[in-house]
Structure formats: structure tokens, C-alpha cells
């Protein structure tokens, strides 16, 4: 598999990329501080303790994203393994994570932690203030990057990537007319956010990091203030952003969606809100890596994408679910009882169910999220896509309600664009729309109008069976 201009693996470490920025661009902005990546050429965020971390398996467990980003840049090629701890990792899982990933050092942003108690003695604090440093260890290792899958039930699964695989979808030496300023609603310790981290670094542009302590509307204002040109998020992130009056505070040139199904309604809403922007959706998962990008403004993807893309990504549909083979997929699951990540031919089963209609594949849901109505299957997402087409609807969550006759029924929680009182007629319009397009058992038996829907830390709608 050759990847043309996606040369890999790079001989450059991430710090080399950072050092290539010229000081005029290449800023990472957090709420309170900004860092010029160029300063990392002769400086460190780790207080001179980088040599102690050489060859170790390092858990990156900072409170904020900026220090995590700096630590990742400095430790790539130096540490044996980097484990990107998402902010919502439950404390009860830490012990098994540390054991399974053979963690022998922890980087934090200074918060008190129980690492000593958990048997990890080496604790290094990362600061956004860059201090001068001489005598840096060689960054010659092929560092293993370990990430957590975005599933929300049970113990989190860890998957191992390489920088070559993680950055294989990113064009090198892309020419931009104007400096690129990236932003993402994702946390960079999630696959979708980490992609933007790498893009910002390799583009030599700047990056406006989101912060868990900042309200979405304030982040939108900050994106506007820094002149964000390329902004990414899940469809749920974007629907929430479009509900903020400050959505117009920014004027990106590129709007990117990933991580959930991008339905036609959200694509159209973004095109209307940002008429100057190219709106594209990408398919990616922590296990399968970046599959492909769709830039024709339509939901789904052309069936012609199956059977091998010039990018070296090979896709097929087996038993309704999308399978992907490429150099971008994760290498393996980390941990004792971990199963094989790919089948014997190297294909990863994404668990995302697709349906062919008029030469185009549409995502209809997850293999494990099916609602069973009297023996008939319903993917919540296919019903949501229809509900979301109603002009009054911002977003919806379809879920199962137990029923003594059919075992389960489909019901929907719906968020409207504005706060007008939802009337009976609106409910009937939505139901009528569903009846037009869906089989009877897929039509919601009840609709509840709610002010908001919970979005999980992964940026995806919180589903009970996700």
C-alpha cells in the first residue's frame, strides 16, 4: 500500500514539526495562556525532567488539553509508550489501565493525584510556561500511542497506534493561501481531537484548544477572536454550537464533522450558517482510523468508494457493517484479555451499519444499538435522521421503551430550534414525516420535547446502549 504524498513514517518527531514553525504562526491557544510551539525548539514544558521519562510508558493525565499537547510533542520519540488519558476516565479504571499499559510514569498538570498510591512513583508536572533547556534526549524511538475507545459502557478499551498511522490521512506540505487556524470541540485525547492536533502541528498553523471549564458559547467567541479557519466536531457538537447566538462569532473556511452520523439536516444547517465554508464529513474511529472524507455536501458516501481508494484505504460491507483495512487502523488492543482488532485479512469491523440507496451508502446505526420491536429491528439513528429533517427540529434522541406486548417500542426526545411551546400539531407533523419514510414499527410511539440532550464527553449523544 503506497500513500503518495502521505509519506510515512516520518523521520521527524513531533518536536521537529513544532520547531519548524516560525514564531509568527504555530500558536496553541488555551483560555488563559498561549504557547508558541517554536519555543519548544530550545525549551521544555516538563521542568527539565524530560530525560527521566525516556524509554518509559507514560500516562498523560493532565487536567487541561494544552499541557497534554505540549507533553505529547516533547515525549514523542522519547517515551516508549504514551497513554492518552481522556478527562472522563473513571478513577475505578485507573488501576487496570496502569497495569495493562505497564505505566511507569505519569505526567499531570500539577493536580493532586493518587498515582503514588497506585504504584507509579515517577510523577512529572507539565507547565504551559516553556523554560529553556539544554541536553535533550534523542527522539529516535517509535513511540507507541495508546488511546481509549469512545464506547461508554463497561471498562474502557485501549488501542495502540503509531504516529505514522495516526498522521497517514494528513497531507504534508499542503499549500494554504492564508495561515490555518484550527479549532475543535473535541478533546485532543480523543481520536477526533487528536487528528486536529496533528493537522495543526503538521500544517504549521495555530490551534485554538477547547477547555472543559469554558461554556460552548465562549469557545465560539474565542474561535472567532483567533480567526479560526478550520473547525471540527461531532454532529452533536455542531448542533449545540448552532443553538448558540455566538455561532456567528466565527467564520471558518472549513467545517468538518466526524464521530457520529452526519445527516443531511445538519450538513444543510452548517452550509446555511457558514456560507463561505466548505462543509465536509469524515469517517473515522479510534480502532479503524480515518477512513475517508466526503466533501460533496451530501450525507452518506458514494458506493464507488468501496473496494480500494487511492489513499490506500480498503473498505467492504459484510453483514451490513462497514469493514476497513488501511495503514491508519490501530495496531492492536492493549491489555491481557484483549481480542484481535482486525480479522485475518486485516479488516477492522467498525460496527457501523450501512445501507445502500441509489448508489450511495448511508449510515443507519450501530450493530449493538438496535431496538427490537416485536422481533423487528430499528436503528435509533435512522429514525433520528428523519425527525431531524423537520425544519423545527434541532436534534433528537431515539431510544427504546419497554413494552409488555412487543418487548420494546421506539420513542423520541426532541430538541427544537427555538423555545416556542411545542404544540400537538408539531408532534403530529413529526410523526407524519416518520410515517412517510419509515416502516410502522420504526415510527415513535411517543415524542417528548426536551430543552436539551446530554452529550457525552466523547462529543457524541449520550446513548444508553452506545
Amino acid at each position: 500500500m503506497r500513500r503518495g504524498d502521505h509519506a510515512s513514517p516520518d523521520s521527524l518527531s513531533l518536536r521537529d514539526w513544532a520547531a519548524k514553525t516560525n514564531g509568527a504562526t504555530g500558536f496553541f491557544h488555551d483560555v488563559e495562556s498561549s504557547v508558541a510551539l517554536h519555543d519548544l525548539a530550545h525549551g521544555t514544558s516538563l521542568g527539565g525532567r524530560l530525560p527521566e521519562l525516556a524509554g518509559r510508558s507514560v500516562l498523560i493525565a493532565t487536567g487541561d488539553q494544552l499541557t497534554a499537547a505540549l507533553a505529547l510533542i516533547e515525549l514523542d520519540g522519547v517515551a516508549r509508550r504514551l497513554i492518552l488519558c481522556p478527562p472522563d476516565l473513571a478513577a475505578e479504571h485507573l488501576r487496570s489501565v496502569i497495569a495493562d499499559a505497564e505505566v511507569d510514569a505519569v505526567v499531570t498538570s500539577g493536580q493532586t493525584d493518587a498515582c503514588g498510591e497506585l504504584g507509579v512513583r515517577l510523577h512529572v508536572v507539565c507547565h504551559p510556561a516553556i523554560a529553556p533547556m539544554a541536553g535533550r534526549p534523542d527522539a529516535h524511538r517509535q513511540t507507541e500511542w495508546v488511546m481509549f475507545t469512545s464506547g461508554t459502557t463497561g471498562a474502557p478499551k485501549m488501542v495502540q497506534h503509531s504516529v505514522a498511522g495516526l498522521t497517514a490521512a494528513i497531507k504534508r506540505n499542503a499549500v494554504h493561501d492564508e495561515p490555518v487556524v484550527w479549532g475543535t470541540f473535541y478533546d485532543i485525547r480523543r481520536y477526533g481531537g487528536l487528528q486536529i492536533f496533528f493537522r495543526a502541528l503538521i500544517d504549521g498553523g495555530s490551534f485554538v484548544l477547547s477547555n472543559a471549564k469554558e461554556a460552548p458559547r465562549d469557545y465560539l467567541v474565542r474561535l472567532g477572536r483567533h480567526g479560526a479557519t478550520h473547525v471540527s466536531g461531532t454532529p452533536s457538537h455542531w448542533r449545540r454550537a448552532l443553538m448558540c447566538p455566538s455561532a456567528r462569532a466565527m467564520a471558518p473556511r472549513y467545517v468538518r464533522l466526524s464521530g457520529e452520523i452526519a445527516d443531511q439536516a445538519v450538513l444543510d444547517a452548517l452550509r446555511a450558517a457558514y456560507p463561505q465554508a466548505r462543509v465536509g464529513h469524515a469517517y473515522a474511529s479510534t480502532e479503524a482510523g480515518v477512513g475517508f472524507e466526503v466533501n460533496d455536501g451530501l450525507a452518506g458516501f458514494p458506493a464507488s468508494m468501496l473496494g480500494g481508494l487511492p489513499s490506500g484505504v480498503d473498505m467492504k460491507v459484510v453483514d451490513g457493517s462497514l469493514r476497513i483495512r488501511s495503514l491508519r487502523t490501530a495496531e492492536r488492543y492493549v491489555g491481557g484479555a484483549a481480542a484481535a482488532l482486525a480479522d485475518e485479512d486485516g479488516f477492522v469491523d467498525t460496527g457501523d451499519v450501512v445501507e445502500l440507496r441509489d448508489g450511495r451508502y448511508f449510515f443507519v446505526g450501530r450493530t449493538n444499538g438496535v431496538i427490537n420491536v416485536g422481533g423487528l429491528k430499528v436503528h435509533p439513528e435512522e429514525v433520528e435522521a428523519v425527525i431531524n429533517r423537520h425544519p423545527g427540529v434541532r436534534m433528537s434522541l431515539v431510544h427504546s421503551r419497554r413494552n409488555p406486548i412487543t418487548g420494546a417500542l421506539v420513542v423520541a426526545d426532541v430538541v427544537l430550534h427555538d423555545e416556542r411551546t411545542p404544540g400537538k400539531s408539531l408532534e403530529q407533523e413529526i410523526i407524519a414525516l416518520c410515517r412517510e419514510d419509515l416502516s410502522r414499527h420504526k415510527v415513535p410511539a411517543a415524542i417528548r420535547f426536551v430543552p436539551a440532550l446530554a452529550v457525552a464527553a466523547t462529543g457524541k449523544l449520550a446513548r444508553r446502549h452506545a
Binding site: 409488555p404 406486548i405 417500542l409 410502522r440
Partner: protein, 81 residues
């Protein structure tokens, strides 16, 4: 509205929504002959739970399966007591 009237009103509404022809509602009407199928009854039980605050079929395991409309109404009347 009595439980019986509530049930009959919902049956008529659901028949309309689901494009089913509902038989004339009488106490002796056999539910299987009512024109409503199991999905309609599933929706009916869910709506009645919202309206009346109870689902007798889930609440108790020894509910005799109703055969006629009269049986069906009695299940709700018993459960409400």
C-alpha cells in the same frame, strides 16, 4: 372520563393513526377481531401508561391475558384499585 372511555378513545385514535379499520366497540368484542394488531396494542398500552399512570401487564405477572374488550378494561380497573 372513565377508564373504559379513555381506553376506547385511545383505540379509535390509534386505529386512525395506524390506518386500521376499527370494529364497532362493544364489551364482547374479541380483541383479535378489533382490527388492531400487536403493534397497535403495544402503542395502546404505552399511551395508557402515560394517561393512567399504570401498566398492569408489566406491574403484575399474573394478569390473565384479556380476550374481550371487557376483559381488557377490567385489567386496568383491577390494577387501579
Amino acid at each position: 372520563m372513565t377508564t373504559k372511555l379513555t381506553i376506547m378513545a385511545e383505540m379509535q385514535k390509534i386505529a386512525g393513526e395506524q390506518a386500521k379499520t376499527l370494529a364497532a366497540l362493544s364489551d364482547d368484542l374479541v380483541l383479535l377481531d378489533s382490527g388492531l394488531d400487536s403493534l397497535c396494542f403495544a402503542v395502546l398500552v404505552a399511551r395508557l401508561e402515560d394517561k393512567l399512570g399504570l401498566d398492569p401487564f408489566t406491574a403484575s405477572e399474573d394478569v390473565a391475558f384479556p380476550v374481550t374488550l371487557r376483559d381488557f378494561v377490567q385489567v386496568y380497573d383491577h390494577a387501579a384499585r
